[in-house]
């Protein structure tokens, strides 16, 4: 090894070493395929890594067997697709990887994130029904804003193998592949395709837990949600969601406003976000009014869900039993939003935001 090489030999050696290394790594990652980009896992139980939703979901969208998609932010993560199938009278499947519904929720999902994932899923021709929660914060900022703090892995949201290099050669993939090959379980993941993103297992849902650590003068302190403007929200909704509604007229889109605790409405009031939120509800409803493949559901002006903090673990997130009830109500066609109910619900929400006495609510919950 101490003999001198010619520069040409040196260059060839360096390139050969790194290229052979890449081929070995890429082949290993392709074979294990920890995020299931090329096939659903066959020789190990599938792993749905909570911290890598934006990497795993495109694989699920491509390879899972489904006709109905449940998608949205963290509020949708606890939806069990067995409940969805039962509510919509789909016969239970016998094989674990063959559900009629699939949960493709992602924490902090933005309109852009939803567009990327739905575009991929809809292009497969599999889905006929999309159930999507309308989270106002998803439409904050530019239409291309992702809720993902790192670079959005757009290379996984297509069917081109050639741009998959970051997946095939990346350190994150290697670590997961090695973990799977060794049978280790150090990362946090679910193995259930009906509950891939479920997190509520050991979580406490109670009024006391909901108000723990809250700053009465700054309810947004823990969540750090961005401010929103009406124009930006509508632009993002139009570009990311309405474009899909228009392009896939044979697919039913059920948009649902999931309940927030009354403290969220108090937070909106503290941050002068009530008007923009209620205006967006009207705008979004109106721009989709012409599309027969759109349905709206609203559970936000529901006093039983909004005022009872025992359903929540923080001001936003409610328990899986609430998710189950909502899905059942939607399947029965209850809580549909119409021109009349929209006006009535908006009026109720405005009052709820205005009248919320934050200190009294927190004290009562403690």
């Amino acid at each position: 090894m101490k003999a001198m090489l010619t520069p040409q030999q040196f260059v060839r050696g360096v390139i050969s070493l790194s290229v052979i290394g890449l081929i070995v790594i890429g082949s290993f990652n392709w074979w294990v395929d920890p995020f299931q980009q090329y096939r659903l896992s066959s020789f190990y139980a599938p792993r749905f890594y909570n911290a890598q939703q934006r990497f795993v979901n495109p694989g699920l969208a491509k390879h899972a067997d489904y006709t109905r998609i449940v998608i949205g932010s963290s509020l949708m993560e606890n939806v069990d697709t067995r409940d969805v199938d039962a509510a919509f009278n789909v016969a239970p499947n016998v094989t674990s990887n063959s559900g009629r519904s699939i949960n493709l929720a992602m924490s902090a999902m933005s309109g852009y994130d939803a567009n990327q994932l739905l575009s991929l899923a809809l292009a497969t021709g599999k889905p006929t029904h999309i159930i999507m929660n309308m989270d106002y914060n998803a439409y904050a900022g530019a239409p291309t804003r992702s809720g993902f703090s790192s670079a959005f892995p757009t290379y996984l949201y297509d069917n081109h193998f050639v741009n998959d290099a970051p997946y095939l050669f990346g350190l994150d993939t290697i670590l997961k592949s090695v973990e799977i090959a060794q049978g280790k379980r150090t990362s946090r993941f679910s193995e259930s395709i009906t509950q891939p993103w479920f997190w509520a297992g050991n979580t406490e849902f109670s009024a006391a837990k909901t108000v723990r650590g809250l700053d009465a003068n700054n309810l947004n302190k823990n969540h750090k949600q961005p401010g929103r403007t009406r124009d930006a929200m509508l632009l993002s909704f139009n570009e990311n969601i309405v474009s899909l509604v228009r392009a896939y007229a044979n697919v039913t889109f059920s948009f649902v406003y999931l309940p927030y605790s009354k403290l969220v409405w108090a937070d909106f009031a503290q941050r002068q976000q009530v008007d923009v939120t209620l205006q967006f509800r009207e705008d979004a409803f109106n721009v989709t009014a012409a599309y027969p493949n759109v349905q709206w559901f609203d559970f936000q002006a529901n006093p039983a869900l909004v005022n009872d903090l025992s359903h929540y673990t923080d001001i936003y997130h409610f328990s899986p039993s609430v998710s189950r009830d909502i899905i059942q109500a939607m399947a029965k066609g209850e809580h549909r939003l119409t021109d009349e109910t929209l006006t009535k619900n908006n009026r109720w929400l405005r009052e709820a935001a205005k009248n919320a006495d934050v200190r009294a609510i927190i004290d009562a919950a403690k």
Binding site: L5, Q9, V11, A165, G170
Partner: protein
């Protein structure tokens, strides 16, 4: 296109190098045109509309340059030069400074003018300064050859286009025109490959690993303790140095593979013994530009002591503003200008500091100034520097989650040594250290050590002996870097 992307490393760069030499066998001019085309692809990869700005800038500067070349040092040429400078500064002003000007005018005069919706073309500061230097050289009669294809390549040549080095016409055109440099040179390819690999290492293994700590510190500027503030300051100072010098090494390495020698931009800047020495080692081509095209033309050392000191400050405030339209950049430039004035008078006292102390003082001053450079606002800069100065108390407590574990580190070391188990201590083990945070700590420590080691990446690449061991080392290093590429971020200087 990012240097630290698979598209560049695995496809673009090999295609550019192989294509260039393959075409050059048949036609030197075609090879130059090929590189021009590749440079356009490299630039358009970001946003095609930016190409129009670049083309417009090149076309007008080429026309000015031709005129000035033909009438160098003649009466009337100066007016044309001024027109050319006004065009370049105007374009830079429009894209980079107009919103800053409007926002400040609104704030000071209580007006409510809307800001322009302007996207900053990538690399505009670099290609504008490059062409300003070209016009001044043409006016001074220092430009002897002006072929349109070589000029196009001089401005757009992809290794330097987005973030420098800021090159001189006279150091590049002879290389583009030299037919002997269009023949494959394996020595240059090997050294270029090593330099490129070392630059990539600096970026993905060091700068990108430190970045989360720097980001966390600056995002929480108002709540930093004394210890937090210093970790934040050191993190950014080292992140920027390795990010920018890593980029430069990759640029120099990529160019060297094509037998083109770009000027050095860094030479172990944190080993500088005073602020003047620092600017001879840090962003050397910007310093050269500021000296040759601003400081000296305005009078320089010949202007008398008072004016010279004023010129130090003016030149560095311009240097600060070149980085971006923000008061933080102005203050950063001002601090460096004032530091040069202080140094000027200090030198008169003939009381040189011991070398180690001089290096330490310069390093601390530079990284503190970089905190101003990086801060989102002057208020944030004030928060960080106040905390670092101990104005909020000298607490060794860590508040930031990213490095809070440092407080437990002696206990962790004690435990990992096995002594804790032997002695039966600590029934409650401390929480494990997040691996990403450990990587940040390791990268910060490595950056600190490497900043003060004698050999730079450029020295290593230019003096290395091609042995089998080193081949394996470079190959493994390149492979590790390639594995880390998906987590890589944009180079910091791309926004300038």
């Amino acid at each position: 296109m990012l240097f630290n992307s698979y598209a560049f490393i695995l496809f673009f760069l090999p295609a550019a190098v192989i294509g260039y030499f393959a075409i050059a066998k048949y036609s030197a001019r075609a090879a130059t045109l090929f590189l021009c085309a590749m440079s356009c692809v490299f630039y358009i990869w970001w946003k095609a509309s930016f190409m129009l700005v670049l083309l417009l800038s090149m076309a007008i500067n080429f026309a000015f340059g031709q005129y000035l070349m033909a009438r160098a040092n003649q009466a009337g040429a100066k007016r044309v030069l001024i027109a050319g400078l006004v065009f370049n500064i105007g374009m830079l002003g429009y894209y980079k400074y107009s919103n800053f000007f409007i926002a400040n005018m609104n704030a000071v005069l209580g007006l409510d003018y809307s800001l322009f919706n302007i996207a900053l073309p990538l690399g505009i500061s670099f290609f504008t300064f490059t062409q300003i230097a070209f016009l001044v050289d043409a006016w001074r009669g220092r430009v002897v050859e002006l072929s349109i294809t070589n000029y196009f390549l001089f401005v757009t040549y992809f290794p330097h286009l987005l973030a420098g080095p800021i090159i001189h016409h006279r150091e590049m055109m002879p290389q583009f025109a030299d037919p002997t440099l269009k023949i494959i040179n394996w020595g240059n390819i090997a050294r270029g490959l090593i330099l490129f690999t070392l630059g990539l290492t600096k970026k993905v293994m060091i700068a990108d690993q430190i970045a989360p700590w720097a980001n966390e510190g600056f995002a929480n500027a108002s709540t930093l303790t004394f210890a937090d503030a210093w970790i934040t300051i050191f993190s950014y100072g080292l992140q920027l140095a390795f990010d920018f010098s890593g980029y430069t090494d990759m640029a120099l390495g990529a160019a060297l593979m094509m037998n083109i020698k770009l000027p050095q931009n860094f030479n172990a800047p944190y080993r500088a013994t005073d602020i003047q020495d620092f600017w001879r080692r840090w962003h050397m081509t910007l310093s050269r530009f500021l000296r040759d095209y601003i400081y000296i033309p305005l009078g320089g050392n010949r202007a008398g002591e008072a004016k010279m000191c004023l010129l130090f400050v003016v030149t560095f405030v311009i240097g600060g503003l070149w980085h971006g339209a923000a008061w933080t950049f102005v203050l950063w430039g001002l601090l460096h200008g004032v530091a040069l004035v202080v140094l000027h008078f200090w030198k008169k006292l003939k009381m040189p500091l011991p070398n180690v102390l001089a290096i330490a003082v310069t390093f601390i001053f530079v990284v503190c100034c970089l905190a101003v450079f990086r801060a989102a606002s002057l208020t944030d800069a004030q928060h960080i520097l106040s905390a670092a100065a101990g104005f909020n108390g000298v607490s060794m407590q860590f508040n930031m989650p990213a490095w809070k574990w440092l407080a437990d580190s002696p206990m962790l070391l004690f435990q990992s040594s096995g002594l804790a188990a032997t002695l039966g201590a600590f029934s409650e083990p401390p929480p494990p250290i997040p691996s990403a945070s450990l990587a940040s700590f390791a990268a910060l420590a490595a950056a600190f050590i490497l900043s003060f080691t004698p050999k730079t990446a450029f020295d290593i690449a230019t003096t290395i002996a091609f042995t089998g061991t080193k081949m394996v080392l470079v190959g493994v290093l390149l492979l590790v870097c390639l594995v880390l590429v998906p987590g890589a971020t944009e180079f910091i200087y791309f926004i300038f």
